[in-house]
């Protein structure tokens, strides 16, 4: 098969469909639904009288997601190239919509909008928006990317979007993901290393400074840094800031090597609130043990690897960058989620892709897979 012929016959294109990636995604989504049922059924039975309450809602979103994936995978990816301005401005507008009466406040955070037929999180749109914008703008800039003007065009809009997410929707984790995707795509696009190493060092120094400040300010009773102090010593903050983290650690620790068995988690019985959401990985550890945890992480590694292979077999830079952005999105989110659940970094709300409960999230994640599949049709992976 000739991967260079992007305008080849459809019959041939189908042949190049990346089935490994699709299998991994199907497996992750199926496993996700199983674990959503396992984690939510007890509490759902009590609160809603229907133990499959969350499962049904998520299954609906997943079905919609598969339609989206299938639909998007049929759209030649070059189509998205024209959408750079729409992607970034549209994302910004959606974020601003939460300030209108369409915004919905849940658990004290203004993160959802009601579009009449569906409620959704603009943050999820912003992630895909940034991926399309960056891929398109980097490709268009070409050699002028490394000029100050070029860098500004590449970095300012995502930074602005990230600031909006952080300040308007109080969603720091999504802001970090949006910024992280942009930086990752820029990293791939330019041949430089030093700048990124320097940026990394600066980031580490900043983190150390903040942690140092948090510890030093403990004596003054400084409240803002509570979250960081809770991270350093969760058992001393077990009743407030570190409650969720500590409950997750209990779940992970009590799983042991073999786990308690599917459905046997105790922590999901009201101890770890909304365990089907961000902390679902800890219940996977409790029920399926270390081997379950290894299997889940392994699946994500395969997913990322598949993305890398597809990206590197794509001759077209735009297609490659789209896949790189999506890979960065998955990777950052998985890494941050597992790091939070294991108390490796301070607690911030990030869901585990394909597995955590969340309709908008699974819809857009599957749509992104659709893009990757479409790119993969035009390469020769085998």
């Amino acid at each position: 098969m000739s991967g260079k012929q992007t305008t080849g016959k459809k019959k041939k294109e189908r042949h190049n469909f990346d089935y490994v990636l699709l299998t991994v995604v199907l497996f992750l989504v199926g496993f996700g639904l199983l674990m959503i049922y396992s984690t939510s059924s007890y509490e759902a039975g009590i609160d809603y009288g229907d133990s499959a309450y969350f499962l049904k809602k998520q299954a609906g979103s997943t079905l919609l997601g598969f339609f989206a994936m299938f639909f998007v995978s049929r759209i030649p990816y070059q189509f998205w190239k024209k959408w750079d301005a729409v992607a970034i401005i549209g994302s910004a507008l959606l974020i601003l919509l939460v300030l209108t009466p369409l915004g919905i406040k849940r658990n004290g955070a203004l993160r959802w909008i009601n579009l009449g037929f569906i409620t959704m999180q603009p943050a999820e749109v912003a992630k895909i928006g940034v991926i399309i914008y960056e891929a398109s703008i980097i490709t268009k800039l070409g050699k002028s990317l490394r000029t100050p003007k070029g860098l500004a065009v590449v970095l300012v809009p995502p930074t602005a979007l990230a600031l909006m997410l952080w300040q308007i929707t109080n969603n720091m984790s999504s802001a970090i993901i949006v910024l992280g995707i942009a930086v990752a795509m820029l990293f791939v696009a330019v041949p430089d290393y030093k700048q990124f190493v320097a940026l990394g060092c600066a980031g580490i120094a900043g983190v150390v400074a903040i942690v140092y400040y948090a510890v030093a300010s403990e004596a003054n009773g400084e409240f803002r840094m509570q979250r960081i102090r809770a991270w350093l010593n969760p058992e001393a903050h077990s009743t407030d800031k570190a409650f969720q983290t500590l409950q997750a650690l209990y779940a992970i620790g009590s799983g042991g090597i073999w786990g308690k068995g599917l459905g046997q988690s105790m922590q999901k019985r009201g101890f770890l609130p909304e365990s089907q959401n961000d902390m679902i990985f800890s219940i996977i550890c409790e029920e399926l043990g270390l081997f379950g945890a290894i299997a889940v992480i392994f699946l994500f590694i395969v997913l990322i690897w598949c993305c890398m292979v597809i990206a590197n077999n794509t001759v077209d830079l735009f297609g490659a960058l789209l896949v790189v952005g999506i890979m960065a999105h998955y990777a950052i989110q998985v890494i941050l989620n597992i790091a939070v659940v294991t108390n490796t970094i301070p607690n911030t709300g990030i869901s585990l892709p394909f597995i955590s409960y969340g309709g908008t999230s699974v819809l857009f994640l599957l749509a992104e897979i659709g893009i990757v599949l479409n790119v993969s049709k035009n390469v020769n992976v085998a």
Partner: protein, 586 residues
């Protein structure tokens, strides 16, 4: 079309590998948590999830020498409700209030209270509990539990004792043998969710309780019943303040019966007996009422001391024989009184007993004769015999609260004191103390320890412990012992104790009539101590009547009680292996 350059592919690969390395690092972190912190977090998590519930252990039974159970356990139920599981609160309230005889208001308050588990009533009859369980009401829990049960009600109440709310012994053998009778509590560890709802089928851990061991006692339920019946009869006909009867094995100190009327109902130990109901009305404080209960539970045979009176002449006689200050043929003359230190001490026979031998003086229970015996010994010698016979020590009986002897200090014993001690006045001992020493004098010189506990056996009928009790040996010579048996048989055959004579058996004994303190109130304690057979004593009984109305001489009212007792129990004792009919012919 911009091409995907090699440098860009390389960087994509670098980025991918970076992500994979971070993920592998996180996998290391997860492994560390799940392998090395597992124990720590599992412990903390279990603490969070587990609820402990105690399972009561069945308390060991108390079983008499015939194998009859005197203290048993009965299954009772505790009814409780679990708020979150109740489906029909109105029905639950209605059923529970009517079945348990509780006010609707009381039950409603508990049913509607938001708590994990609320107790409605404990100690409910098993039948009632079964009725409620069979209704199968959602949210209503019926737990079975043990409660102490005494099949004979008030029989040997002050000896057996009873248990409190936690099944712990409060008085009597129940408290003395607590360590054997009480079992080990079991535990149910259940898992609950965050709201405290038990998770069924989620690995319930159960630690079975270990039942307590059975205590086998020397009491014979037949003798105990008969002794109690006789005591109650005397208590009623004599309108006495109290009547005590003790039956003891002379050889080894095993107590076959100990009755102290009025007894109380062991199944209702906090309900006052009718005699004390009246006094309750005048109680103003909780403490007063508690004092009444303590009074009701008091065992006069061991908790209280009294002046033994003439029965104590056995001790004076034995000491004199042992010291050689008297022979059986020594003559005494009684003019009806004796003068000691210009104090005139009267004999109970106003006209005097005239000329008599030592044996006759004992038969007559002549005070002047015994005063002169005491004086012959002298205070110091008398005191050393008093101690030698163990009279100053507690007997060590296996019941709590044994009272100590109240005796003069040797320095304070003048002639008058010595004279009164000689015939059993001016000091106080418990009835069991008196019995133990007299047993030692007539059984060849071995003061045994009166006791109930024989052995402890577990559920599988294996002996856990057999009890042994100390014996003070050689308090008198065999010769003295034999002489005392002869004298005391004469007392019953021909002397003041002839009402204690039992046709067909050889019985020895001594009567006593002691004035209570303060003197001059006309209140007496009448008693008789008898044993059989006189030549080789096996069994001994004492009957003590506190403050009888009308006749009050021990020989007239206490001796017949022991006679009736012996008439019934001696043939029975023969049947169960006591050899009480040896050589009927003298």
């Amino acid at each position: 079309m911009a091409r995907n350059k090699t440098t860009q592919k390389k960087k994509t690969f670098v980025m991918c590998m970076l992500c994979i390395m971070v993920l592998i690092g996180l996998l290391g972190r997860v492994s560390y948590l799940m392998l090395f912190c597992s124990e720590h977090y599992t412990e903390l998590a279990d603490e969070l999830h587990e609820r402990e519930r105690d399972i009561k252990a069945a308390r060991g039974r108390i079983i008499d020498s015939t194998g009859t159970v005197l203290a048993d356990n009965r299954t009772v139920c505790t009814i409780s409700v679990i708020h979150s599981q109740i489906e029909n609160p109105e029905e639950v309230i209605e059923v529970l209030s009517s079945e348990l005889g509780l006010s609707e208001e009381y039950v409603r308050k508990r049913v509607e209270k938001y708590s994990a588990r609320e107790r409605i009533k404990s100690n409910v009859d098993k039948e009632t509990g079964d009725v409620i369980r069979n209704l199968d009401l959602a949210g209503v829990k019926v737990d079975e539990d043990y409660k102490r049960y005494y099949p004979y009600g008030d029989l040997a109440s002050k000896v057996l004792g009873f248990t409190g709310g936690d099944n712990q012994g409060i008085i009597g053998l129940e408290v003395k043998y607590e360590e054997y009778l009480t079992g080990e509590k079991g535990q149910i560890l259940t898992l609950t969710d965050a709201k405290g709802i038990e998770q069924e089928g989620m690995g319930e851990k159960r630690q079975e309780p270990i039942a307590g061991n059975d205590l086998y006692v020397s009491i014979d339920v037949n003798i105990q019943k008969y002794a109690t019946q006789l005591a109650r009869q005397a208590y009623e006909t004599k309108q006495a303040a109290g009547v005590s009867i003790i039956v003891m094995n002379v050889k080894n100190g095993e107590i076959l019966a100990m009755a102290d009327v009025p007894e109380f109902n062991l199944n209702e130990p906090f309900t006052l007996i009718p005699e004390l109901e009246e006094a309750k009305a005048s109680c103003t404080t909780q403490e007063d009422e508690q004092n009444l209960l303590n009074q009701m539970w008091r065992n006069g045979c061991i908790n209280d001391t009294y002046e033994p009176g003439s029965i104590f002449k056995i001790i004076t006689a034995a000491a004199s024989l042992e010291a050689g200050t008297v022979t059986l043929e020594d003559g005494f003359s009684c003019p009806g009184y004796t003068i000691v230190d210009d104090r005139r001490i009267r004999c109970h026979k106003a006209g005097g007993h005239g000329q008599q031998t030592f044996v006759e003086a004992t038969m007559n229970s002549c005070n002047p004769a015994f005063v002169s015996l005491g004086l012959r010994l002298g205070a110091e010698r008398y005191y050393s015999y008093f101690e030698q016979f163990g009279m100053k020590k507690k007997t060590g009986i296996d019941l709590p609260g044994e009272a100590a002897t109240i005796m003069h200090k040797l320095d304070n014993i003048g002639e008058v004191e010595l004279a009164t001690i000689s015939f059993g006045q001016s000091f106080q001992i418990t009835p069991v103390r008196l019995m133990a020493t007299v047993a030692g004098i007539i059984n060849g010189g071995n003061v045994i320890t009166p006791h109930f506990g024989v052995k402890v056996m577990n559920e599988e009928q294996n002996i856990i412990q057999e009890f042994e009790y100390p014996v003070m040996e050689g308090i008198v010579s065999e010769d003295t012992s034999e002489k005392m048996r002869y004298i005391l048989e004469q007392v019953v055959e021909n002397g003041g104790g002839k009402n204690g004579y039992v046709e067909g058996f050889r019985v020895g004994g001594k009567t006593a009539t002691s004035q209570t303190l303060p003197r001059g109130t006309g209140r007496y304690i009448s008693s008789f101590l008898g044993f059989a057979p006189a030549n080789d004593p096996q069994v001994m009984a004492i009957a003590i009547i506190d403050t009888p109305q009308g006749q009050y001489y021990g020989g007239q009212i206490a001796a017949p009680i022991v006679r009736q007792l012996f008439e019934n129990i001696l043939p029975y004792l023969n049947e169960i292996g006591y050899n009480v009919t040896v050589s009927q012919q003298k």
